[in-house]
Symmetry: C2
Subunit: 220 residues, 2 copies
């Protein structure tokens, strides 16, 4: 597995999460910040190796083997993110780029020991589930904040966008995993929301509400 092959598998895996069925060549190209022609070449190679199913003009899909490899890379990525936050004082907006590098380190023992060292965490600092050794992943916790109704309460359990800029915005607003949140009002015109977190009340745009996962508290 070269670094590039691993990154393609990961990209296809992530795209497959949402859009199921064959993943288009263009979609992969966009995700990878590369050109469709490069994707075609790589897809062919991955197909040769039995990691993706591919038929000309029909898009790609990971094989079982490919899925396992991808899940393993994501497992490594997320475990490293936990390590960086829990042990090395990184903030949640600083970890992704470093994890992009660390995820390619090859050592079974390393990752299993790291897992144990961290106490077998189930979620990374963004609330994303950590796959187990066999590639099994639990579902993402919670539902999108945007889908909650007026007066619903819950706990923030994850973010969809984990770009540094978004996370920094959340920090500024005091929005973090584990915080209690209540929907005070929804504005139908622009889908903005008024919310309360720790006695602070403020407005957030649709954009924001669409990128935060909340676990609903049972009705009182």
């Amino acid at each position: 597995m070269t670094l590039s092959e691993e990154n393609y598998l990961k990209a296809i895996y992530h795209l497959g999460d949402v859009h199921d069925g064959g993943i288009s060549t263009n979609a992969i190209a966009e995700q990878m910040n590369t050109k469709a022609s490069s994707v075609t070449d790589m897809i062919k190679k991955l197909s040769e190796k039995g990691l993706v199913h591919y038929k000309r003009y029909k898009g790609s899909e990971l094989t079982e083997k490919g899925t396992l490899v991808a899940a393993n890379i994501i497992r490594k990525h997320r475990l490293w993110e936990v390590f960086l936050v829990e042990k090395l004082n990184f903030t949640w907006d600083e970890v992704h780029d470093v994890a992009e590098q660390l995820e390619h380190i090859k050592s079974e023992k390393l990752i299993n020991e790291l897992d144990a060292f961290l106490g077998f965490p189930k979620h990374d600092p963004h609330g994303d589930p950590i796959p187990d050794k066999d590639g099994n992943v639990s579902n993402k916790l919670g539902k999108l904040l945007i889908t909650l109704n007026k007066n619903d309460r819950g706990i923030i359990v994850g973010v969809k966008d984990s770009s540094s800029s978004f996370l920094k915005y959340l920090d500024k607003q005091g929005i973090a995993l584990g915080k209690k949140i209540k929907v005070l009002d929804k504005e139908p015109f622009d889908n903005s929301m008024k919310i309360r977190i720790k006695k602070e009340e403020f407005m957030i745009s649709q954009q924001i509400a669409n990128n935060i996962y909340v676990k609903l508290s049972p009705e009182a």
Copy 2:
């Protein structure tokens, strides 16, 4: 800095430690397990970048800048080795290959936080000194066991060879860093030695004695 460039700098750095003056192209090729022609190409590139001094047919030497880069990679390598042994239950014969990968991860913050997390260690699991951020390295502790005389005592502080096979041999004999050692006898014919470690007395060959560093205890 590509991965390959970093490995060349490291190789030249290590060769320069022993053999000072210009490092021959062949020496680099051997160290890197590659061909002299490939080395010539790379040396030219590194020279362009101001990382090595190079004149055709005259051998190579790191510039100040090149030395700093190399020392930094070695710093990372050795800090990761400490991490693996101290935190992740690796043995000293298991760490090198993984550290060869980890040393190329690029993040200032990562390495500085790791350093702090480990309590600013001064030596790696093989007794090698860890360079500081500015590339300063303290001297290797101790002298080679082979140079000790009959009845000399000391403490084992390092190994010269850190191949897995050598380290496993040492484990089997109960030879480890920090152990007290006494030279009971030297055999001039084959340069073997009779030694005592923790009440165990046994013979070691010249080969072995030439790869262990000992800090001499002051005479009684």
